[in-house]
């Protein structure tokens, strides 16, 4: 014990360039976060999305009017008349409806993605780790799911279950998992052969512990990217469904069903305040999320690391 070999700082560790930069040491996720914010588009996307989320969260405080209160219809936008974005055919304030609609769109996006990432991760991880017939079964199931005409199946599901917000989230969530399952499966297939997994077995860790606490964190990065794009897709799908009349039912506002109410020719040509704002909101939401996804992908690509 007396000749204990204690190493000094400098000689054996490649990190710790200077004690002045302790953040440098934390590596991993913190480093990712820093690189993410340095990526300009990603930062902008995150800020935009955060604003949208705040708007949805505090809708009752921000909205100037009750979104269901009926007044004089088709008032054009004005700074002085109180209705910043005018009113619709029932005389409801467009701005307030727009703000409340963000709740629907964001919860569809986040809810559906949360459901299908959870399902896909579980299926993919189990299929990849155990292989054999479990794997074949899971992969054939993804083949079947992926060969469905997406929008049609959702339309059928929603019309059978009834068109409500919860059912739309459920339908989107139940249909989206195959792509996540495949991503996770591929990752698990390669990571499970790594020596640290063998080391984990040699340390006496149980299979679920190894699979979910040791292997999964190594394969989540591409899924995170996939999930951000998934949110955008879900928002658009909800808008499409609402546009087709199978989405969120009036009088609840969603960006999609605000568009459907503006379908008439006279509205399209003469009252742009009814369809331009919801379209813009959809575009902003989708773009901000896509930017975030792009940024995440760049940041997580090991070749892109500087």
């Amino acid at each position: 014990m007396s000749d204990k070999t204690v190493l000094t700082d400098g000689e054996n560790s490649r990190s710790s360039s200077s004690p002045a930069a302790p953040a440098e040491l934390d590596g991993g996720w913190k480093q990712l976060a820093r690189r993410f914010f340095r990526h300009r588009l990603a930062g902008a996307g995150l800020i935009l999305f955060a604003l949208l989320a705040l708007m949805a969260l505090f809708a009752p405080l921000i909205a100037p009017f009750d979104p269901y209160a009926i007044g004089r219809s088709y008032q054009p936008p004005s700074w002085t008349g109180g209705h910043l974005l005018g009113t619709d055919q029932s005389g409801r304030d467009v701005l307030s409806r727009l703000i409340y609609a963000s709740r629907v769109s964001l919860s569809v996006g986040v809810g559906a993605v949360a459901i299908y990432v959870a399902i896909g991760t579980l299926v993919g991880a189990v299929a990849g780790y155990f292989g054999g017939w479990i794997d074949s079964l899971a992969m054939r199931a993804t083949d079947v799911f992926m060969s469905f005409p997406y929008l049609m199946v959702i339309l059928v599901m929603v019309s059978v279950l009834g068109p409500s917000l919860g059912n739309i989230i459920l339908a989107l969530g139940l249909l989206g998992w195959p792509s996540v399952a495949r991503l996770i499966r591929g990752g698990v297939l390669s990571v499970k052969e790594k020596e640290y997994v063998k080391a984990g077995i040699a340390l006496g860790y149980s299979t679920p512990r190894l699979l979910f606490l040791h292997i999964l964190p190594n394969v989540l990065a591409p899924v995170l990217v996939n999930a951000t794009f998934g949110i955008a897709v879900a928002i658009i799908t909800e808008a499409s469904l609402s546009f087709l009349g199978m989405g969120v039912q009036p009088p609840t506002a969603s960006w999609g069903n605000m568009l459907i109410e503006a379908q008439s020719f006279s509205t399209l040509s003469g009252r742009p305040w009814l369809w331009v704002p919801p379209s813009c909101m959809i575009i902003i939401a989708v773009i901000s999320i896509n930017f975030m996804g792009d940024g995440l992908r760049d940041v997580m690509d090991p070749k892109g690391r500087r």
């Binding site: 190493l7 560790s13 790594k194 340390l203 860790y205």
Partner: protein
């Protein structure tokens, strides 16, 4: 000496598309308390498969098809995964060849170290962390506190091997299996790691099973040496006995392959011609016959048994049996 780990007549078979093969056969030894046994041999000699079979890491295709492995008299070969998980990492630990790939890149050192301590010793989060930190200090890492927060990519190979040793020793195992623990490290770091392992062995009374093909490491660490060739033990002896009075031509060949500074300038380094035959193409008779300089007709026909040449020195070669052939004939499979 009290036997901690017993490996008796073990044969390991793997299922392949072309039927079963047996990369390990006739492996038989026991590891005493506080003893270090080195298993040496070329690639393909079966030394790694032997250790994997002890740890139960053979995978789906492999199994111990004959013989048994026991720890303190408790047989390991038939245990369920759950029982095995209680032993692995607790009673038997393992250090791997490449420390860089043996630690999970997305978890911090502290996380990995304390997870294991918590699992096997049932400590709380805080105690396990403190214990882990103490263990890091014990293996000679000065900045233990900040290293606990590091991810593996930030550490050098030597540091990571220290971390691996800390993990392996943290539950005070009875047996430590070290699979070429220094092969991937710099020579200077190698010496430090070997010294550390020796110290810990003395302190904890751990028995070490050392897998290596580096004869210098053997000379530095081992009490006894097992030489493996073609999946079987060909010679087993005390370390001094082996270096000075080896009997098997293969052991001789291995020892001649050690490069030595200053001896015979301009001389070419000796090498054993050829390579280990594949398990499915094992020749009849002695497995070393095609590469042996002293091959006789008998070697081509009959498989030599592992014979005791006195004082625990065992050899599997017809040359050494020659004289006593009259009294001890047979034993061939």
């Amino acid at each position: 000496m009290e036997a901690v780990l017993e490996v008796r007549q073990v044969q390991v078979t793997f299922k392949t598309e072309k039927g079963e093969i047996a990369p390990v056969e006739n492996v038989d030894f026991q590891l005493g308390k506080g003893e270090t046994i080195a298993i040496v041999g070329e690639s393909g000699s079966g030394k790694s498969v032997t250790t994997l079979s002890i740890m139960g890491l053979l995978g789906k295709a492999g199994r111990v098809s004959r013989g048994y492995i026991s720890l303190h008299g408790r047989e390991l070969t038939g245990l369920s995964a759950k029982e095995l998980n209680r032993i692995r990492g607790n009673d038997i630990s393992m250090i791997f060849q490449e420390p860089m790939s043996a630690l999970n890149p997305v978890l911090t050192i502290g996380h990995q170290l304390s997870e294991q301590i918590r699992k096997h010793r049932g400590l709380g989060r805080k105690e396990a962390r403190a214990e882990g930190e103490a263990m890091l200090r014990r293996v000679g890492i000065a900045r233990a506190e900040s290293i606990m927060r590091e991810y593996p990519f930030a550490l050098s190979g030597g540091m990571l091997q220290r971390v691996m040793i800390a993990m392996a020793m943290s539950c005070n195992p009875k047996v430590l299996i070290a699979d070429e623990p220094t092969t991937a490290l710099d020579v200077t770091i190698q010496a430090q790691i070997l010294r550390l392992m020796k110290e810990l062995k003395k302190e904890f009374g751990t028995s070490i099973l050392l897998i290596t093909h580096d004869m210098n490491v053997v000379a530095e660490m081992a009490d006894r040496v097992i030489v493996m060739y073609g999946g079987e033990v060909v010679e087993e002896a005390d370390v001094f006995q082996l270096f000075d009075h080896h009997r098997h031509p293969y052991t001789k060949g291995l020892l001649e392959c050690i490069p030595q500074i200053g001896s015979g300038k301009g001389e070419r380094l000796a090498a054993i011609p050829g390579s280990v035959p594949l398990p499915q193409h094992m020749p009849r008779g002695c497995r070393f016959q095609d590469r042996c300089a002293h091959v006789m007709d008998k070697c081509r026909e009959q498989h030599p048994p592992l014979k005791d040449a006195g004082k625990g020195h065992k050899v599997r070669c017809w040359l050494t049996c020659e004289g006593k052939e009259g009294e001890e004939n047979g034993g061939t499979p």
